[in-house]
Symmetry: C2
Subunit: 160 residues, 2 copies
């Protein structure tokens, strides 16, 4: 690898916290068929409220957050969707990542000052938020290949 980027460190300070109905990991729907319809709140630090100007016009947002209750990382691991075969951490959504950043798409229901009421949270209550971005476009489903995830879902369906 060229360049010194890997030797650098970047310090991140949360812009706020997630308020969610989930107090612990076991409560978050996971694995095959998991649907995230839970409502929650993104509570920003009050001084950052001006950064939300015009956000009400977007139906969906990307939320970047910290898996703050994950310890260390595993490069190859088993995950709930496919307990038989381990997969690489970058080919999965495992919380035990070299940089423990989570990414969730939520639906914006309404804003109340520095608070965004959203649907689709899969984070624990108190999760630190690093960033919020507007969701502008997605990949067309017909262009998408979903590798081992699609295969694991098929195997599950065949068994049930």
């Amino acid at each position: 690898m060229v360049g010194d980027a890997p030797e650098r460190r970047f310090e991140m300070r949360p812009i706020g916290v997630v308020r969610s109905p989930y107090a612990e990991r076991a409560q978050v729907p996971k694995g095959p068929g998991a649907e995230h319809k839970a409502e929650g709140t993104l509570e920003l630090r009050p001084e950052l409220e001006p950064g939300l100007q015009d956000i009400e016009g977007f139906s969906h947002l990307f939320v970047l957050w910290v898996f703050d209750r994950a310890e260390g990382f595993e490069l190859v691991a088993r995950v709930p969707l496919d307990e038989e075969t381990p997969h690489g951490v970058f080919a999965s959504r495992s919380p035990r990542r070299p940089n423990p950043i989570g990414l969730t798409v939520v639906e914006l229901l309404r804003r109340e000052g520095p608070r965004l009421h959203v649907r689709g949270v899969d984070m624990l209550d108190g999760t630190p938020i690093l960033d919020v971005k507007p969701y502008l476009s997605g990949v067309a489903p017909e262009a998408l290949r979903r590798g081992w995830v699609a295969e694991a879902e098929e195997r599950r369906k065949a068994k049930s």
Copy 2:
């Protein structure tokens, strides 16, 4: 805001760097109609290669990276797509964010050891990468509202 999350700090170490045709910001297509078809490489630190196991099965990936050449942040700013009206930083993709994290969806072309050849880079050459995740699903276009971005695009069209 409840809890101490905002007082915490999280230190991130890049997992690798982006190799891209863009040496400086002015070369990256931006604003209305910008298309990102440029090919580039995600070069991971060699010791992280096992984390890529099974990634070849996915057509698209999320790349989380650092705007390492952005200085500070602005809560409200003008952006290239809409130079007349300022918008909140969390309602835009401005690089000058409280935590300068970028998010790009790329198409995975092929893997070569710890290197991922991808299409769709909009990062500068040497950009530090924080995480790579499989892209599993998107929001249906008919469910999407894109706020000021859609309005600015309409105004541009009407003018041209």
